[in-house]
């Protein structure tokens, strides 16, 4: 039952360690968030550092990043390596800004609402809420990015 630090994990073991489902891990691999080696029989074998990498994926997802954005974040790391302490410090500043701008958007919206409470102007073209800021509503539509446009990775 001894394990050297070079032992690899099966997909089931990785699932257990990360709390993810097996199918989610396969999905992330298909999305190039992680890579897997194969053993002689064609089964995936993961490195221990992938536990940390997948934890990173889960945390950034909680902040509202899409898979595509997370892939981009991971690729800002040299060699696309699994984020270490220093990398995480840098990335978390990035996330912090992302979060701040989301908060700001919501606050603007709220203040707008406050100014509009009771005005009953729902059908007016010039209502601040009805016609947000610019009339560029051609941007795909739908609340896919919950209020405000898709955040850019700076």
């Amino acid at each position: 039952m001894s394990m050297s630090p070079t032992d690899r994990l099966s997909i089931g073991q990785l699932a257990e360690r990360t709390g993810l489902s097996v199918s989610a891990i396969r999905y992330y691999e298909a999305q190039n968030l992680i890579e897997a080696e194969r053993n002689a029989g064609g089964q995936r074998r993961f490195m221990r550092s992938d536990i940390r990498r997948l934890s990173f994926v889960q945390i950034t997802q909680r902040f509202g990043f899409t898979i595509e954005e997370i892939r981009a974040l991971l690729q800002t790391l040299p060699e696309g390596r699994t984020p270490n302490k220093a990398d995480w410090r840098q990335i978390s500043r990035n996330i912090r800004q992302h979060l701040d701008s989301q908060i700001e958007t919501l606050e603007k919206l709220r203040d707008n609402l406050d100014g509009c409470i009771g005005c009953g102007c729902l059908s007016l073209r010039n209502c601040q809420l009805y016609n947000p800021q610019d009339k560029a509503r051609s941007k795909g539509a739908g609340p896919r990015y919950l209020l405000g446009d898709k955040p850019e990775l700076s």
Copy 2:
């Protein structure tokens, strides 16, 4: 070209007045957000008040409410009528709370992040970010409601 206040609108006219697409309006009807009468030829005829009703739908969508939630909001109105000034006042207080709690969630998350910047604890089970508050992650999963659980309509 004269129009009495009892004239009805075709779906194309309603689309033009609201800025919605024809297909979106048909979709909203299928979702029971609006109702339509039919003329002799089977075409939809809408009331003028539906312009306001659809404006309401658009505005509440901007606040991140789902179709289902909007349907619920509309049904809190007696007879499911189109919201008037007083209704809107009431509903907007409701939305204000919704918004405040979203802001609060984001702020908590941000503060958590601040406390965690540089800790590099990504793989730890007891990390505040990794394991948010409770470990009830069995609630559907996915950032469908952007951080934090689905807001209740109070």
